[in-house]
Symmetry: C2
Subunit: 314 residues, 2 copies
């Protein structure tokens, strides 16, 4: 029996993407995206309009959603979405099921990007995969013994909130010294702004709005301050990855997200820091530390894989 | 067909225990122990003598060994034993197989204690278990989705070497700011000694050799300095446990080892610190943070379970 098409959705900090997939292929039959933030209407009703637009009146098999966490993947309820203030304890899965009359499967965007990179991308052939995505925030996904790890409440792999220095800067969550407070795009840009305010010199010093992309670009072009800012982020990412090596000993570390996109400086400093921090060189034997190969589509493809599987076996 | 008896061995920092078990029961038919540190002969030959003594001339089915890590559970090779300087890259499993002519299964003592507490002790009924043992050092074991986690090199769950403060004290491994450098029995005693040298007052100030047991006892009897030293260890253990909650979201945290043995002060400060550090209160719903119930026999019983299963399915 042929399955009807599946809608996959990825709700990101800046854009919401939706795509329609037939049973046979990972290439979408149609796709569209909207900005996450808008004054026009609430996000849920705009999301429903986007799904309507993409499904072009076809009967659906199911919907898979990659959503910002923390969330409960069993019930499809978002506990708190960092960039969507209206979604607190929001039952996204059941609201979509109600609206479209088909099963809806929801998981954390980083978990689903990890699933996609493992099945279709840089993690193929591995059983123990650490996935980190470095963008506005820092998210994570974890595959061990060939299973996506959710933990007892479905809240595993929130590596962005691993505490690595009690005296560290404040994190987006309000606590201090988390990985994200050093290594997210937001944190990298804030660090450079702070140094410039303190009088450091840099090719960025006359820029109005400093972003992590601008920092990465300047670093590639030889700006010393920008290079050191990326190396600082890489140093802390390496500490966190080394902590993960000691905790569950992956054979591949896959890095996704916009901040990893440009240049080799960040990736090389991550590798140096992991080598410097692991307990024993055996952890490094055969360990790959690499970029994801699916780019921005990782979350969307993970949502597709989740819906095709009829949800996680949890 | 009946199985022949199994020898279980637990190689600890101070004692090596061995016991003979029939197929039917977890109560040993015979058991004995020797001190780990002794000048009379090398540890391997004394271990063989101990096994000979315990097996009382019976034909064996197999041998299970809980050994100090890090080690390779696939090959039974100890990479580096913190308290046994002669065992570096030591092929313990194959040496015992050669000597006794039966299959020998070796795993990290904390992994096997975790396995035993999960199957027979405080973790029964759970699928996601974090085990920490706080003694001379800090060891760990991890069960996720109902499987003991080994990772790609068999080196997972070395939580004692999780970095939680880059500016922290030196660890037994030589690096800085690891959990073990704050929370092991050795670290607690060293911290109290340092405060006394700096002139702090305590009921311990005239004691010759301060141990973590003496600190725990003094704290129970109202010594303020000792109480604060335990609370400091609990604070850092809570940070590490909270990091583990965000990483893999266990439903039970089991604490073993001698340092947890006496009084409630340490356990209570651990609980407070976990509550203070987790990202979201959902992690705490139904979360048990409790002592192990198998005491000193956890490692031995884990070695028995390992041998009965004919090794891990890795």
């Amino acid at each position: 029996m042929r399955m009807r098409p599946i809608i996959a959705v990825d709700i990101g900090g800046t854009h919401v993407r939706a795509a329609l997939y037939s049973e046979a292929t990972d290439t979408p039959m149609s796709r569209a995206e909207i900005a996450t933030h808008s004054q026009d209407a609430d996000l849920f009703s705009r999301l429903c309009d986007l799904i309507e637009q993409v499904r072009v009146e076809r009967a659906l098999e199911s919907i898979g959603v990659a959503a910002p966490g923390p969330l409960d993947p069993r019930s499809g309820t978002i506990l708190r979405a960092p960039n969507i203030q209206e979604w607190i304890e929001f039952p996204l899965g059941s609201r979509l099921t109600e609206r479209f009359g088909v099963s809806t499967y929801v998981d954390n965007d980083a978990n689903l990007a990890a699933l996609a990179e493992w099945r279709l991308g840089a993690g193929r052939g591995h059983s123990d995969v650490l996935y980190l995505t470095v963008g506005t925030g820092v998210g994570g996904g974890l595959i061990l013994n060939g299973q996506l790890i959710h933990g007892s409440h479905g809240l595993a792999a929130e590596f962005g909130h691993m505490l690595i220095d009690p005296a560290g800067p404040q994190c987006s969550c309000g606590k201090h010294g988390h990985l994200e407070s050093y290594a997210s795009g937001t944190a990298i840009a804030a660090h450079v702004r702070r140094l410039l305010e303190e009088g450091a010199t840099s090719s960025l010093q006359d820029m109005q709005e400093i972003t992590s992309s601008a920092v990465a670009e300047a670093a590639q072009e030889g700006d010393e301050l920008s290079r050191r800012a990326l190396e600082r982020a890489g140093h802390y990412l390496g500490i966190a990855i080394s902590n993960c090596c000691m905790s569950f000993d992956p054979s591949v570390v896959i890095l996704g997200g916009g901040v990893l996109g440009s240049g080799e400086i960040l990736l090389q400093s991550i590798r140096r820091s992991v080598v410097a921090h692991v307990l024993h060189p055996r952890y490094l034997e055969g360990l790959e530390i690499t970029r994801g190969t699916l780019g921005d589509d990782a979350g969307l493809l993970g949502a597709l894989l989740l819906a095709r599987a009829g949800g996680h076996d949890m």
